[in-house]
Point group: none
Chain length 196, copies 4
DNA sequence: GATGAATGAGTATTCATTCAT
DNA sequence: AATGAATGAATACTCATTCAT
């Protein structure tokens, strides 16, 4: 009967499920508490308020996300391979947790501006990772020397994110991970033919 | 289809101002009515409910948006030039209306899922436009024959959108339109060097 | 069916009844609204918040209270008669409204310090009235020349208030107004015999 | 009757400090426990519930209060001197403990009616003491024979209490004890001149 | 005796929408 | 057409008290 899982993660995992199932605006604290198997008041022993649950959720999940991708990337010799790995892992991790995919791609974006700014703080770690790959590519000569790093980063993140969001909005019907290679090719080569 | 009663656009324009100034969640119907110079109840003579104001807002503004871009594109001979024009116009139109930029890039995304799905319906016209350019490019040989049209469209839209959102979140400090050429080059050539 | 009584006073009167019947801490806004025959939200068209109902209640009732007493006192020639009239009216007005007596003598004193400070602001008008009678008495020679006005005021108000509170705590069992003369004699002559 | 366990008084003294510093409604059990240096649960080994802390606080402090005043009064030959001593001691004891003064004159009065009724039970001992002085005065001929004992008691207690409360609400800025003689004179002689 | 993590009941306030005028 | 007063559903958070250790 005893659940040794620390209540902190228990509540965060419950929040993911409840938000994915009910939507952001129908995810009441009492529902999350019930799903976590604790009393409403217990939530407030671990989180300052409701917003704190959501920011913590994003920090914990995104933190794990970035860590895993960093580990995988470290071993790859070229920027192209690093980028491919990043896209593959990103898609694989989303596909592996359908609830989390809904929460991060759709529901959490309904939060108010203040919360989204705090979420963006967490995202910065991921954007830095993308930028480091771009730098590597410019150093190895794989990428163009005149590449604007910020713009390239926006293209890479925007493309990955749009692809993932479209996939979630289509009810995760198709195999997201299978798209990684094509997205990678697009990002490296662009739409044009090589000789242009 | 467009409602020609003057109060209709009066209310939509008021909504843009109020949402940009107060944020999505602080944009009460009564505030919009006051800004539009009408009584609260009058709103409901022109719109079914609050959501209808927002969807109509997006339809009206995005409709104009697409029309203008379509006109400009029509005259361009190549897919590359069409794409460049689309990016340029997109950035120019956003830069020309600071309020609208805030509303479409930040505030309207906080709306609930149902509303966002209806907004996406409106967006489809724009996405079709992008896809038609991609088709053109494949036909003229400018773009790769094995290009996945949907993925290419997601890359193009995702990159443009991410670039615009980053610009708004940075308080529209720099010249967005000036980035059009670089974004275009990135989308056509990708990050890699030509010979790869 | 139409009730022409302005809702503002309707709500204040409802608050007096509900607080007297249920006690300060059991006087929920929804109960007051129901008693007043309006919707919960209507309360907030007339009052900023719950505290505002209570302060307004005290202002309205105490304002009437002070006005009535001032009118009666104005015609009295001597300080002694003015004081007697003040005590009589004070006791009569409390005895005339059992609900109000409970609310002002018992329930409103449970409010938090901030509210009580605002209530004290209203009370100041009454205390000024008492002080003006004391000044009159010193001028006419009825009262001792070395009388400390503030202390005398504290004795007069303290005695009246303590007498009223004791009466309410004894469930208003006896005739409060009948005590006015004795209280007046006590305040003018003190406990001691005249020759001391 | 007094609980001799050291933690009992430790908790009561902590309650006085916490209530004086934070106000009645911000004096949570957990704050009192922390100030007393015990765990929250330990409170409930010494007190039945929170109300019991407050009633016990009043009993302990008021008990000491009454005892000290009784001792001092016993030696005085006349009712006038007894009354003067009572007022002096009352004011001196309040002035000696600023925290206690705030708690008894302001904060404890915000408690709910039930608690205040229990506090009044404790107060009865003090009121009896005042009545015994009045009886003495009537017997010795110092006080008027037609004095209504209850009314005289209400005047005496009301005046002392109002004077003390006003002093606390003025942040204990002036010397309360210095007012004892004047208050005493007022109570014995009243406001009027001797020959009236 | 002592601890402190866990409990769960209870309520003021906002705002989209209506409808009598 | 236009008004705007009235409606009423819906929800995060606190804190006194308990009880397993």
């Amino acid at each position: 009967m005893k659940n040794n899982k620390p209540k902190y993660m228990q509540i965060i995992d419950a929040a993911v499920v409840i938000i994915a199932q009910n939507g952001y605006h129908q995810a009441q604290v009492s529902k999350i508490a019930k799903q976590a198997g604790v009393a409403d008041g217990t939530i407030y022993l671990y989180f300052k308020n409701k917003e704190d649950i959501l920011v913590s959720l994003f920090q914990e999940k995104m933190g794990t996300f970035i860590e895993k991708i960093e580990e995988e990337i470290a071993g790859k010799p070229s920027a192209a391979e690093k980028l491919l790995t990043l896209i593959e892992k990103h898609f694989e991790l989303l596909a592996a947790d359908h609830h989390l995919a809904i929460v991060t791609q759709l529901e959490l974006r309904q939060s108010n501006l203040e919360l989204r700014i705090r979420i963006n703080e967490v995202l910065k770690g991921y954007l830095k990772l993308i930028e480091s790959i771009i730098h590597t590519g410019k150093e190895t000569g794989e990428f163009r020397q005149d590449l604007d790093v910020r713009l390239a980063r926006q293209m890479i993140f925007g493309s990955i994110d749009e692809t993932a969001t479209t996939w979630v909005m289509n009810d995760q019907k198709y195999d997201l991970a299978a798209l990684a290679k094509s997205v990678h090719t697009l990002l490296v080569k662009g739409c044009g033919t090589a000789h242009l």
